[in-house]
Every structure is written in structure tokens, then in C-alpha cells.
């Protein structure tokens, strides 16, 4: 019996892995597409960063006062390359900047320094050429504005120091200092809740995306595994062989799980490379999760693993039961496709809200969807709701047993050959031949 099971599993794996319709979208493309996307983003972000360090601007100084000169010196000190365009008209200067690599044109009008000295608002105009250069261009433009803001803060500091020589300018500008801390599992943690929410959001985004990918892969594979037997007219032969039909079902389930896991690993490798291409650029906030009691424990990993496995089994059983009603692969995928709503809806709710805070009927509906539970289990180290997670596993186990029982029944009878959904026949009222 075990030999029969192994034969079917091996055959399923060979068939699925050698099928370009499976191999390309599920294994090759994620391994190639995501790293390529990540490489493209990383390269352009690095180019943008390099270009920020080399910001070149044009300047028309119509003021020539002390603050105008201070501003130029400040820009030079901050690695800005300043090109003076003092002897040409503004129109000509605009044309020149548009056709060059210069980031901006700054015009300091006459009276700039006098107005600042008198405590009045001084005007300054910054032109930025629009060349359709994407993120790099907008970053360079904002760099110029940031520098001007810093220069303005310097003037403000100076004025406060002059007006209140005994006081600290920083303290005058910030009369209240708020310190953000969090309460984690009833204890104080020296981390802003915003940081924790951000961290949790990254968990509740990446984990469900990975899970959904795995579950959709697996369902499509399982549906294909049964429907292709019908499409290729191999099912009848298989069903007349001296093997237990439950073994055929188990072999197809196991083969689909193995190939789906390989596909999911390929997807996650590609996806993590893609995500790392962002992480390498943005600043990393490191938090000692263990110190504040939020580090994932061994128990939370086990719960997540079991929960995910149960979700996988129930998804496969559901897909196989449905694919029995399809006549070919396309029909099976059309039947299984709409089930993705059962993954997407829980994902959206778990991403944006706490399910227990929803109106009671809605939370019951969500908890009735088996695929909500692995998403809740992914946050068990944050929420500490181990009992709920274990309850979710038990619920999924019962759901899986019922669906597998139905699938085994369908496999054990002639329904596997005769069951068909005849939507078209009903709609068009075509008589039977």
C-alpha cells in the first residue's frame, strides 16, 4: 500500500514539475521576476542617492547682500555645486537649466538680506525643471527645499538668541517634550507604539501574502492534478488499477503539497530578495523584541506551522472536491479560482483591524472561514492569544476531515466520472443527447 502511495506521489511530482504551465509561473518566474524587480528598484534608488550627493544648482543673485552670500556658502558647505547665472535673463536661465543636468534654479531677489535683517519675510524662488526623471528627480528637488528649510531654521535660531539671550533656543521652540512608550503584555516597553505597529504591519503584510501564495499554488495544483487526469483521459485507467482509491487521493494531495511547498519557497526567496532591496536603502530600526516580550517563541512557531499545514490540507481537500465536478483543467481552475476570496477577505481584515473588535456577526463569519486562522496564528507572538490559535487549528482540523471525507466519497464512487456542473445546459436549456 505504501509502495502504491509512493508511486502516485512520484508520478504526480514528475508530471507537475515537468509541466511548463506549472514550472514557469510557480517556480521559475518568482525566482527570476522578483529578484529582477528588486534589482531594478535597488539600482534606481542607489542612483537617486548618488545624484543627491552631487546636487548641482544654478543661482541668480539679484540681492548680493550678506544673507544671500551666507546661503551660497551654506549650500557649498553641504556639497552643492553652485553655478552663477548673473548676467542673463530669467527666461534664458530657465532654458539653460532645462537643457542641463542642473537640479534647480534659485533666484534671490534684491531686498532679500534687508528683509531678513528687518525681521520681515524674505522671498526666494526655486525653479525645478520637470524632465520626467521619476523618484531621483523628485528627491533632488526635495533636497534643495530641505536645505533651504535648514538655513531658515538657522536664521530663526539666531533671532531667538538675539531676542532672548538668557534662554535656550531649542527649549523655546519645543516647550513640551513627549516621550512615547508602549505597554506590552501589561509591562512598560521603551519603544514607541508607532514602531511596534509598523513592525506588526510588516508581519501582517508579508506573512499573509506568503500564505495566500502558498495556498493558491496548492489549490491550483491539486485541482490540476485531478482535472488533468480527466482531460488527458487517464483517470479511468487509474481507477481500474488494483489500488485503494483513497491512496490515489492521498498521493495527489501529497504530490500537490510537495510541489506547492517548492513553489512557495521559490516565491518567498524571490519576495524576500525583493523586500531586502528596499530594506537595504531605508533606515533599519532594530528593536530587541525579546527584551519587551514580543520575540516569537518556539510555541508560536509551532502553532503557526501547524495552523498553516492544516490550512493547506483543507485548501487542497476543497480544491480536489471541487475539481471532481470539472471536465478539464481550465474548468477546474475556474471553479477553484473564486475560492481566493476566502483568503483575500481575512487578509484585509487581519491587516487593518482586530477581528474581535468587529461587529459580532462579521467576526463570526470571518472566524468561520478556515483560512482566517493561520493569519491570526501569524500574530500570536504579538497578541498572546495561544488558546484562540489552538482553537483555530482544531476548527480547521474538523473542517479538513469533513471535506476530505467528501473528497474520498467522491473518489470512491462513480461520481468522480459522472459529476459535472452543467451551468450552460441550464442557462441555454439545451436538450440532452
Amino acid at each position: 500500500m505504501l509502495n502504491d502511495l509512493m508511486n502516485i506521489i512520484l508520478k504526480e511530482i514528475k508530471e507537475l514539475v515537468r509541466d511548463p504551465k506549472v514550472l514557469l509561473p510557480m517556480i521559475i518566474i518568482p525566482l527570476v521576476m522578483f529578484p529582477l524587480m528588486g534589482f531594478a528598484i535597488q539600482t534606481s534608488m542607489e542612483t537617486a542617492q548618488q545624484s543627491i550627493g552631487e546636487t548641482s544648482i544654478a543661482l541668480i543673485d539679484q540681492d548680493e547682500g550678506s544673507f544671500a552670500l551666507s546661503l551660497q556658502a551654506f549650500m557649498t558647505a553641504n556639497n552643492f555645486s553652485v553655478t552663477h547665472l548673473d548676467n542673463i535673463s530669467v527666461e534664458d536661465a530657465l532654458l539653460q537649466v532645462q537643457d542641463s543636468n542642473l537640479s534647480s534654479l534659485i533666484i534671490i531677489p534684491s531686498g532679500f538680506s534687508v528683509n531678513i535683517t528687518k525681521g520681515k519675510t524674505a522671498d526666494i524662488t526655486v525653479y525645478t525643471p520637470f524632465r520626467g526623471g521619476g523618484i531621483a528627480e523628485s528627491t533632488r528637488s526635495s533636497t534643495v527645499n530641505t536645505l533651504l528649510n535648514i538655513f531658515e531654521s538657522g536664521i530663526l535660531d539666531q533671532r531667538i538668541r538675539e531676542g532672548f539671550p538668557e534662554s535656550n533656543a531649542t527649549q523655546i521652540l519645543n516647550p513640551i517634550k513627549s516621550e512615547d512608550k508602549s505597554i506590552v503584555k501589561g509591562k512598560s516597553a521603551d519603544v514607541s507604539p508607532d514602531v511596534l505597529f509598523g513592525l506588526m504591519l510588516s508581519q501582517t503584510t508579508i506573512m499573509p501574502v506568503g500564505m495566500i501564495t502558498l495556498l493558491i499554488f496548492a489549490m491550483q495544483l491539486a485541482a490540476t492534478a485531478v482535472a488533468s487526469e480527466k482531460e488527458e483521459k487517464t483517470l479511468e485507467t487509474l481507477l481500474t488499477l488494483p489500488i485503494n482509491r483513497t491512496m490515489i487521493l492521498a498521493g495527489k494531495l501529497t504530490g500537490s503539497i510537495i510541489v506547492a511547498l517548492v513553489g512557495a519557497v521559490a516565491y518567498l526567496i524571490g519576495f524576500s530578495y525583493y523586500m531586502n532591496s528596499f530594506m537595504g536603502i531605508s533606515s533599519n530600526i532594530t528593536i530587541d523584541l525579546a527584551a519587551i516580550g514580543l520575540a516569537p517563541s518556539l510555541a508560536s512557531y509551532i502553532i503557526l506551522g501547524v495552523s498553516l499545514f492544516m490550512a493547506l490540507l483543507s485548501a487542497l481537500a476543497l480544491a480536489i472536491s471541487l475539481s471532481v465536478f470539472a471536465e478539464d483543467v481550465r474548468g477546474a481552475q475556474a471553479l477553484v479560482g473564486p475560492l481566493s476570496i476566502l483568503f483575500v477577505v481575512p487578509m484585509i481584515f487581519t491587516m487593518f483591524t482586530n477581528i474581535n473588535a468587529l461587529p459580532f456577526p462579521l467576526s463570526i463569519i470571518l472566524l468561520a472561514i478556515p483560512f482566517t486562522h493561520p493569519m491570526l496564528a501569524a500574530n500570536v507572538s504579538f497578541t498572546g492569544n495561544y488558546v484562540g490559535a489552538i482553537g483555530g487549528i482544531a476548527y480547521m482540523a474538523i473542517f479538513t476531515i469533513i471535506v476530505l471525507y467528501v473528497a474520498a466519497k467522491l473518489f470512491g464512487t462513480e461520481k468522480i466520472l459522472t459529476a459535472k456542473l452543467k451551468f450552460q445546459r441550464r442557462i441555454k436549456n439545451i436538450p440532452r443527447d
Binding site: K14, K233, T234, L239, L241
Partner: protein, 243 residues
């Protein structure tokens, strides 16, 4: 000779359509027995019930004394079924397909090798067995499938339209294999066909099926003599009334 297959008052309804309407036939061990009839006569349904794929609405079929419903597992151990439009796993090579099928009959690697060798000889596909099935022509695929059905020397081979869609060359090859194999290995064969000349050449006895019932049965010679006909096509015309 003992009875290999016995169908008694076999009825099969698909909703409001009656595919079999009290079908009776008996096949003796070692015989090549043909069910012949027009498309939709009920031949395939009868073969599918005998192969344990479908359940009869009423009536019984026994294979070497085992009921196809109550003792389906025992029946599957004795039979080999070739469906009319059967395919093979297109991403496996011919050899891999044969090994896969043989491995459900025995766990012994040497024995599997012998079965595959036998199938290789029956199919006559030679080195092409190393190629993936998706590269095979329809005739090559059918030869592979006939070889698969016969390689295990089953007690009963059930072949639904074994020459379905084949050209003359492949058709002759398959027909010769079936006849030779049945004689050499004493395999009982139940086949269906609407090619009555082919059936006349192959079968020891035939049953003419029309609208789910056997309307005449006997050896081709007996039937021709009884209906004073030159061939089985004329017999069929006499019985069913299209001639």
C-alpha cells in the same frame, strides 16, 4: 471452459436516459468476445460497469465469479481496462509510464522490468519509448496503451474500441497483437467496436447491442449462417433493420 464474465439483466440509467436496458451476455474463459453496435448503443457503459467504474442501476456482472460491485477490489486485481479515448501521462516517457503502471501489479523490480520488456515488445515502439508521450502520434499512443493493458497478462482484458481512430498500419498492428496475445497467454478479452469487419476477424463470439439490449449473439459464422449474410455488417442490418 469456465465462465469468465456473466452479465445478467444489466440496467443503467443516467437520469432520464436509459443506457442499458436488461443487457445479458456470457463470456467463456480464453474467449475474445466482442460487443458490437452503433454509437450510443450502450457498449461503453457495459464495459465501464464490468471494469468497476460505474455502478449498475440494477442487474449484476460477475468476473470469474466475483461481483463487480460487492467485490470490486478482487475484480480490479484480475482485469486490465483500456478506455476508448484513453491517454497516457504526457510528461512521462513511454518507459516511465509503463513502469508506473507495472508497479501497481508487483513490488519486485525484476518483475517490473519483465513486464516493461513485454510491453516494449507488444508495442513495437523500440527506442521511442524513451521519448515523452506528448511527442507520440495517436497511433503510437494507442500501441503504448494496448501494450500497457496486455503486459500484465490479466485474466480479463477489457478493450473499448481498441483501434479507435487508428490508420490502417497501426490498426493491423494492434489487431494482430490482440489476437496473438489472447492465443499465447490464454487471456480472456472483452472488446467493443463499431467496426464489424474487424470484430469478425478478431472475435470468437460477438453480441450485437442495440438500444441497451443484446439483440443477437453467437460466433460470427453462426450469425452469418443464421441470418444468411455475407458479413457481420449485413447481420447487423438484418437484426436492427437498417439494411
Amino acid at each position: 471452459m469456465s465462465v469468465a464474465v456473466e452479465a445478467k439483466n444489466l440496467v443503467k440509467d443516467f437520469g432520464s436516459v436509459t443506457a442499458l436496458d436488461g443487457l445479458n451476455f456470457t463470456i467463456k474463459e480464453g474467449e475474445i468476445f466482442g460487443l458490437i453496435g452503433l454509437n450510443g448503443a450502450g457498449k461503453t457503459t457495459a464495459l465501464r460497469i464490468t471494469s468497476t467504474l460505474l455502478l449498475p442501476t440494477s442487474g449484476t456482472v460477475t468476473v470469474f465469479g466475483h461481483d463487480v460491485v460487492d467485490e470490486a477490489a478482487e475484480v480490479r486485481n484480475m482485469i486490465s481496462y483500456l478506455p476508448e479515448e484513453a491517454g497516457a501521462y504526457k510528461n512521462l516517457s513511454g518507459l516511465e509510464y509503463l513502469k508506473f503502471m507495472a508497479s501497481f501489479r508487483t513490488n519486485d523490480k525484476a518483475a517490473i522490468g519483465k513486464l516493461v520488456d513485454a510491453a516494449s515488445e507488444i508495442s513495437g515502439l523500440g527506442d521511442r519509448l524513451k521519448d515523452k508521450v506528448k511527442g507520440y502520434s495517436k497511433g503510437m499512443k494507442r500501441r503504448l496503451l494496448v501494450a500497457r493493458a496486455l503486459m500484465t497478462k490479466p485474466k480479463l482484458a477489457i478493450l473499448d474500441e481498441p483501434n479507435s481512430g487508428l490508420d490502417v498500419l497501426h490498426s493491423v498492428h494492434v489487431r494482430t497483437i490482440i489476437k496473438r496475445y489472447a492465443q499465447e497467454h490464454k487471456v480472456t478479452i472483452l472488446l467493443s467496436s463499431h467496426n464489424m469487419l474487424e470484430v469478425e476477424y478478431l472475435c470468437d463470439r460477438v453480441a450485437l447491442v442495440n438500444k441497451g439490449k443484446v439483440v443477437a449473439q453467437g460466433s460470427p459464422d453462426e450469425l452469418k449462417k443464421k441470418f444468411n449474410a455475407v458479413n457481420l455488417e449485413e447481420v447487423f442490418g438484418e437484426v436492427v433493420g437498417f439494411a
